[in-house]
């Protein structure tokens, strides 16, 4: 070991961080969520508005960009910290609201609680996020800093005890880190839930001089953005986890494989790496010890399949990003043939706190077989869209009804799709399943990337299965028979069913082929691709049957099985907005003055139904596509 105690070196960094924080205490601070989600909602404009308003009124305040605050449903978001007041989070910001906040709160002393979402610290006047049902369930282990501290400065991370786990670990033996991670039963968050400790141990035991640590930030699932949010908001946490891994297994070099479509994440990680190097947290002789470790970003511009472990390594080596059969496993022969640990962004993000607070603390959260928390992005027919982190073991019902605040009014729950394109659709009856790797697997879904889509009566389960199959079929690398050809046939069969074509044998074939693809495919893309088909067949078989036996789509979604119809009883002679809304001039006025649709011309664009005023609500969809008999209707 070197001459300097790593803990003492760390103390110096902490002092530096404290000075840094002191220097910016007195002024009010405005933290704006500018992760990609915030930007898409106009966060940069809001930032400009704040700067402009503050400038106009000559108010001194720091306007700071932070990462994803987690409440995407209310984006753009900002947190205002004004000395003397609790920090408060405001949502749905626009120019007018920014003016008011600057005028009333920053120039004046009225926190305008009517526009606040919640306070961030306990106080006597206004509730915090923890006081809402969502907050009662939420437990933030890896999202704790998201949106709260300014990621552009390592000082902030250190100020909240960041890198103290590293300092602690470096003052002990590498085996101690390994032991904690193993004892904590930290399971991989990239989808499959393989215990990280076992992987690390195998790699630590490999007798090779050169080893690698790789962080998988390829995040290709449509709709998944938690890895991105963590990297954008709190990159140092991931770096610390990777350095700890390198120390534990005896590696000197690590890579973050980040998809090139995440430029902000790439930028923030690169800046974080620079700062870590400047502070002797990366590079040679870390914190004065003789442990050398460095990190580099590798920008992956490949396909979805490049997130698969062996394909990722191939793509880093400049080869085609195709999966390989295993063994050898990566811990035996990974990058450039050397023992390699590959873990997901979230997996690494848990490591610092596990090292610092111990395996027992980690295991006190979640369930015995799946300790810790799960991160989900809630989307679809749910009020509280956004990123949430809940302990494993929380039920799907709690997650949807309490954390996500249920479905919007008038929406009736039908299914929840969980785990991304390789996940499954679960019905109401499965809502009391606890969220953990094994229970979800038994129900036919997977934890996957943590995507969670809530669906209602307007979602057709056959169309949903078809949608996901379209994705996986398109993303199949084509190397192996079952996935290349099997997913193509699955997709074709599903497409036929959405047109009402098929019989009982078709459903049996779907079932058999799905099972065989699961068993026969080379990699996990193929092995999980049939999950959406299998779960919808298992839980929503009646919808499949309605399509093929009655030519009816119960959700009125499948275009070939519906027609648009104007109910004469509801249509008003005084109104003709639908006529103009139709792009193909399919709507005509009948002799009696009511409107009707010429079916041959109708392209089922839904415009007329949207255009018809709510007080008439005369346009409806019918399935099967058969026109009702009408007395006196003119045929055309």
């Amino acid at each position: 070991m070197g001459t300097v105690n790593p803990q003492e070196q760390y103390k110096q960094l902490q002092n530096k961080a404290e000075d840094y924080a002191q220097a910016r205490q007195e002024k009010p601070r405005i933290l704006i969520g500018t992760a990609t989600c915030g930007r898409a909602a106009g966060a940069m404009q809001v930032k400009e508005n704040f700067l402009h308003e503050l400038d106009k009124r000559n108010i001194e305040a720091d306007v700071i960009e932070v990462g994803c605050i987690g409440h995407c449903y209310a984006e753009p978001l900002a947190i205002i910290e004004k000395p003397g007041f609790p920090a408060v989070c405001y949502g749905y910001l626009d120019e007018g609201l920014v003016n008011r906040l600057v005028e009333d709160f920053l120039a004046g002393d009225d926190p305008s609680y009517e526009f606040a979402l919640a306070a961030l610290e306990r106080n006597d006047v206004f509730p915090t996020f923890e006081d809402f049902p969502r907050g009662i369930h939420e437990e933030k282990l890896i999202l704790e800093n998201c949106g709260l501290i300014n990621f552009q400065h390592i000082e902030n991370y250190i100020g909240s005890e960041g890198y103290s786990a590293l300092a602690l670990a470096l003052s002990r033996e590498p085996a101690k880190v390994l032991e904690e991670v193993k004892k904590a039963n930290l399971r991989g968050r990239g989808g499959a839930g393989f215990p990280a400790g076992i992987k690390w141990e195998a790699c630590a035991g490999a007798k090779e001089d050169e080893k690698f640590v790789i962080c998988n930030a390829d995040e290709g699932d449509p709709g998944a953005f938690m890895d991105r949010s963590i990297l954008e908001s709190d990159p140092h946490r991931v770096l610390e986890g990777m350095i700890l891994c390198g120390f534990a297994i005896g590696a000197k070099k690590g890579y973050l494989y980040i998809r090139a479509e995440y430029p902000l994440a790439v930028k923030h990680v690169q800046e974080a790496i620079e700062q870590a190097r400047e502070n002797n947290i990366l590079g040679d002789g870390i914190l004065g010890t003789d442990f050398d470790f460095d990190l580099e970003v590798f920008q992956g511009s490949g396909a979805f399949i490049c997130g698969e472990a062996t394909a990722l390594v191939n793509s880093m080596e400049g080869k085609m990003g195709l999966p390989e059969s295993r063994p050898p496993r990566l811990v035996q022969a990974g990058l450039r043939g050397k023992p390699t640990v590959l873990n997901n962004v979230k997996t690494f993000a848990y490591v610092p706190r596990i090292v610092k607070e111990g395996a027992d603390w980690f295991k006190s959260i979640g369930t015995p077989e799946s300790p810790g928390t799960a991160v989900f992005s809630l989307v679809g027919k749910i009020n509280g869209t956004g990123l949430v982190e809940v302990p494993m073991g929380t039920t799907l019902r709690q997650l949807i009804e309490e954390v996500g605040d249920g479905l919007p009014e008038g929406r009736e729950f039908k299914a929840v799709q969980i785990g991304g394109p390789s996940g499954g659709c679960l019905p109401e009856s499965a809502l009391d399943v606890p969220i953990d790797f094994d229970s979800l697997h038994d129900a036919g879904a997977i934890m996957g990337s943590g995507g969670l889509v809530v669906m209602d009566q307007d979602d057709c389960m056959v169309a949903v299965a078809r949608y996901f199959l379209e994705f996986t079929q398109h993303e199949s690398c084509g190397k192996c028979t079952f996935c290349r050809l099997g997913t193509k046939h699955l997709l074709d069969i599903l497409t036929n069913i959405t047109k009402g074509e098929g019989d009982r044998e078709t459903l049996q074939l779907l079932d058999e082929l799905s099972e065989d693809i699961k068993q026969g495919s080379l990699c996990n893309l193929g092995r999980t691709a049939p999950n959406p088909v299998l779960t919808t067949l298992r839980y929503f078989r009646d919808e499949y049957e309605a399509h093929i036996e009655e030519g009816r789509c119960p959700a009125l979604v499948c275009r070939d099985l519906i027609l648009y119809y104007i109910k004469p009883k509801k249509c008003s002679k005084l109104c003709n907005v639908c006529v103009g809304s139709c792009p193909t001039e399919a709507i005509y006025t009948r002799d009696d003055g009511l409107k009707a649709i010429e079916q041959e011309k109708c392209v089922k664009c839904d415009n007329c139904r949207k255009a018809c005023p709510p007080e008439y609500d005369a346009v409806i969809k019918l399935s099967p596509p058969v026109l009702p008999e009408e007395k006196g209707a003119r045929s055309k």
């Binding site: 079929q473 028979t481 050809l485 099997g486």
Partner: protein, 216 residues
Amino acid sequence: MSNQVTLTINDREIKAGKGNKLLWVALENDIYIPHLCAIKEEPRPNASCRLCFVEIEGRDKPVTSCSTEVEEGMVVKTRSERVDRLVKTGFELLLSDHNLDCRNCPANRSCSLQVIAKKCGLKLRHQRFTPIERDYELDDSPAEFALDRSRCVRCGQCVWADRNEAKAGVLGFKNRGIDRIVTSFNDQPLADLGCNSCAHCVDACPVGALYYKQKA
């Protein structure tokens, strides 16, 4: 001996060199396992045709024998309900994307698909799956041979032979998923790349995709 292992395949005790792959050990002992993509000399198998499944006692699912090393005391069954089902589906899937016209195929009677059908009791007919419609370009530019992709099963034998035997680097796969095809460097006609006589790839092709023109 330490570099020998003893294992049982279909109730027969068999000795094999350590490190060998199960598929080759079985074949050398006259025990048939269907296969298309395996290459004995290749240490890292592609394991892509997914036909060589066997059951190994103690494993919860069938495994591909071309990618599994023999082990001391291993107990193997080359057939089981699960194996037969996978082989049947895999085979039918391949046929659904194969220009199935044996009588007019240059590989008739020497084709591996015919061997598999015969040995495994499978039919050389489209069954559960609707044939996939394709439109491929025929490359018959070389004087001696031609490439008809409508018969290609994507086994990769030609690519391996091209790289390792001919050492030419002319052939490779391109595109993803269902569009994956064997192609030549820059998609040029094979003759323009100097391919006229070596024909290692033709000899490697187990079906009638790469074939000698005189046979056609």
